[in-house]
Amino acid sequence: MTQERTADRPRVDAYEKVLGRALYAADQPIAGLLHAMTVPATIAKGRIEAIDMTAAQNVRGVVRIFTHEDFSQIKTTPAARGAYGQPGKGHQPMTSPVVRHRGEPVALVVAETLEAAIEGAEAVKVRYASEPFSARMEDDLASPEAEPDRQLSSGDAEAAFATADHRVDVEYLHPQQHHNPIELISTTAAFEDGELRIYEGTQAASAFAGGLAGMMGMDPTRLRGVSPYTGGGFGQKNGIQEQSVLVASAAVLLRRPVKLVMSRSQLFHTASYRPRSRHRVRLGADEQGRLLAGLYETVQQNGRYDGFACDHGANPPRMYGYGAWRGSDRIVRVDTQTPGHQRAPHEHPSSYATECAMDELAEAVGMDPVELRLANDAQSDPITGKPFSSRHLADCLRRGAELFGWSRRMREPGALVADNGDLIGLGVACGSYKASMTAAVTTLRLFASGRCDIATSGHEMGQGIRSVIAAELIEILGVDPTKLDVRIGDTGHAPQHITAGSWGTGSAAPAARGAALKLRDELSLLTGAPLSEEPVHVQLARTRRPSLEVTVNTIPLGKDAQVIEQLRRGIPSTTGPEYPDFMAFSWIAHFAEVHVETSTGRVRVKRVVSVADCGRVMNRRTAESQVRGGVVWGIGAALREAGETDPRFGGVLNNDLAEYVVPVNADIGAIDVDFIDQPDFKLNMSGVKGLGEVAMVGAAAAVVNAVYNATGRRVRHLPIRIEDLL
């Protein structure tokens, strides 16, 4: 059995998806379904004084209108929205008359039809007592936390910075961003076969089901979370949503199935988002460009009540061999809904700030930005002193520079000019993301007919995890992918971990591989001889057994059997980046070429080359697709995306996909992707480190650095818009 490298296979669920057979949460056909719609708060902060439901109750088809008076029994637990596991944090709307952000649900109208639910919701009249608020961290009532949320240090960074030959001291601003997965967030709750089933596009079916049971005071074994397909998650679907427990409670109280699909405009106000952040970066280097000191201070805008961490400082010190480092991350609280994890949650903004600062340092030292990074390559972590499990970042840079034609770059900004007069700029930036894993429980069944079923932990949200699981079974067992059934995202089949943080593949691949290897061992015991080259199901048939089943608990490196119990209860438990003997990260280098129109300042990203070190590549096709998606998001972050809040009102003004500007096809040029593809067996038996998040880290910085190379302008906020370059 050799590790099959960079196999390029179609997704195993491609046909199901393009033929519309894959049922997403809101597609479930359920008899007798009621429809729900929320009434969003029209104040940013205050209390509900009275709710007039008369007109709404008269809307034909309205079954019931729920308010906070109906839901006061719902408990706000560490699983609740915005708590992030911390007791005392979080806010579940409609459990009291308190309104903590604009747009939060203040009533839930349930009706026989969607139209009646919408009309009923619009007819509910709420009287509020509003209170003064601040919705942006720059405003008067914003409250900075007294203590830093996180700190990391090594050596005396201040002293080293003070005496460095070359210094940069710069501040970068990153705006608020919203995930906007195409599948809207929906919840459907239905009693079926004696259990309450929650159909919701989620990245965390067990945490979801267990968390809801806790909030509702239900026996968790009577609640099943079902999410076999999630239409894009990106971190926005990794927990209980504001409406989830309300819909589930409504179904319990009405004894009928209830569905709510939250509209896009409301999701800008109820779902999580990437919070606004400020980053001060100080870098000191010697004459040769060796990094003597890094000082990194960040501030992040949180809601008043949430437990979302500020963790910008985790990755930058691991990027290069800093002589000394000091970093601190602080939180400022304002009156908004809770922010949350959005693809590369802190790594993207921190790479934007620090990799742009590296570009500024390269200029100060008078070095090529690629050479500066190579000169500071490191094989161990400056903070813990531990070696990296694997790090091929220098190879990413060298190979990327070659593929991209980096040697064309002129140090002098604006020196490269296109035939049409556009200024050409080339930029580089790097990224990293922790290599994590989580526990999995896998049941694998092989039938003598050749059919094969696997039920395991993980969610398919477009990243291709089904295909990763299939790849290991194909490799170890030689099963036919058309006879393979991969059951994931459903607590009725297996306990489900939160699939996030790029640990999906690193957890699912070893789980599938471990189960497949165990099945071979069991089969070999049955046949009484080592397995032959014949298909495994043929060898099984010869034993006259119809099927063979194995169950495997996969415990990630550095953890013990307790994690399996936590997994069953839906309590998140992940590893990394620190392991007993090493630190583990995925790495990437991005190169971007932009053309800037001199008269109007329009920026066009003509080409991006990205080379990633993510350990073993499980499927070249889905892996390239992951990286392209990350790069597109990086381009959007650099040049277009920002949630905008009018401080006088709170809320998000540009709350739809027409006004919240993301790139369209016409904005995206060539994106060439390559991989180092060296397995990291120190981490797991599949040699996988993780790719989905690292794909985006550094992509925006490469574009920003290219804009500088074209124009000579250091724009230190995102997005860079036309008015910044006029």
Binding site: T42, G61, E122, R648, F649, A666, I722
Partner: protein, 333 residues
């Protein structure tokens, strides 16, 4: 449930009679690309829809006579792809092909497009927010003034409203001196496009010189050799599916190397499709040179009144116009 009546009219008179009969809350609907959007946003709440998408002959495109005539029901995509329009009036074709998306252009009518409402987010966000808007709710105030006004107009603004006129096609038609053909319960009439759009003044909710029950039946554009030397340049936050931050429609009638007459209108920067007469006059008699083009661009914005975040539109608008003048000028060679 909120009920809605719907009928499909076959002739203009059938439609106008149905409108009168329906009474309050009646709206015509053609492609539906604006009205359905505004209904979903809660900005429009019609009680009766009179569908005029299949009025007999309303999608006529005539390019052989003395004028170009576009039936109001012609689809944006069909006019954009018309051979004569593309060859002899690129400004018209480009203004259509750079608008919206192919899917929307396949549905939207060129008559309905004249009546598109502003994209001002305070106007559109009526249902979820508590944003005052004089256009949506006369007398309630204007949240955009003193607010997030990056997209707002700098020309033709008033103390009651700064909402930018959103269209591209109306800008090109304004440059080309089009006439809007209208028919209503009282009979047909023609309105020069310059008079079709109102300035906001104290009554920003009154946007178009069209009376209740009237239907735009067609658009006439006088034929001119300037059409060949024309272009529509649109600058926006992304390369497709976005409204203009600044746009310019330019057509040049030339005597040799010199401009005999320039047709210029601006979009994205004004409260209505904006005819830039000052720029036209500045170009008259001149040859097309970059500094003259930029001077014309700046002249067009002499009266601009920016807000807090949209002052860049003055410089961007001037440069966009200058680029468009140079592009139109190059078509001579």
């Amino acid at each position: 449930m909120r009920s809605l009546s719907y009928i499909r009219a076959k002739t203009v008179s059938e439609a106008t009679e149905a409108f009168v009969a329906a009474g309050e809350g009646a709206r015509y609907i053609a492609g539906g690309t604006t009205l359905y959007d505004l209904m979903k946003l809660g900005v429009e709440r019609p009680a009766h829809l009179i569908d005029i998408a299949s009025l007999a002959g309303s999608d006529r495109i005539e390019t052989s006579g003395d004028v170009l005539f576009f039936g109001a029901g012609a689809r944006m995509a069909d006019v954009a792809e018309d051979g004569v329009v593309r060859r002899d009036y690129p400004v018209l074709a480009e203004s259509l092909s750079k608008a919206a998306s192919q899917q929307l252009r396949n549905m939207a009518s060129v008559g309905g497009n004249l009546l598109q409402r502003t994209r001002c987010p305070y106007f559109r966000n009526g249902a979820i927010g508590a944003y005052p808007c004089n256009k949506r709710e006369p007398g309630s105030g204007c949240a955009a003034i003193g607010g997030l006004d990056r997209g707002q107009a700098v020309l033709g603004v008033s103390d009651a409203c700064t909402a930018a006129s959103p269209g591209d096609w109306p800008v090109a038609l304004t440059a080309m001196d089009a006439t809007v053909e209208i028919q209503g319960p009282a009979g047909p009439r023609s309105v020069p496009i310059a008079e079709f759009y109102r300035l906001p003044g104290d009554t920003p909710h009154l946007e178009f010189a069209i009376e209740a029950g009237e239907i735009v039946t067609g658009i006439s554009v006088p034929k001119t050799e300037a059409g060949r030397n024309s272009t529509y340049l649109k600058v926006r936050d992304r390369e497709s599916y976005a409204f203009a931050l600044a746009s310019a429609a330019v057509a040049l009638a030339m005597d040799g190397d010199h401009v005999r007459h320039a047709h210029i209108a601006l979009g994205g920067v004004a409260t209505r499709p904006w005819r830039a007469r000052e720029a036209e006059e500045l170009l008259t008699g001149r040859s097309i040179e970059p500094d003259i083009a930029l001077a014309a661009g700046k002249a067009a914005f002499a009266e601009a009144r920016p807000g807090a975040h949209n002052a860049f539109k003055i410089e961007l608008g001037a440069r966009t116009l200058a680029d468009a003048i140079m592009t139109a000028g190059r078509k001579m060679q």
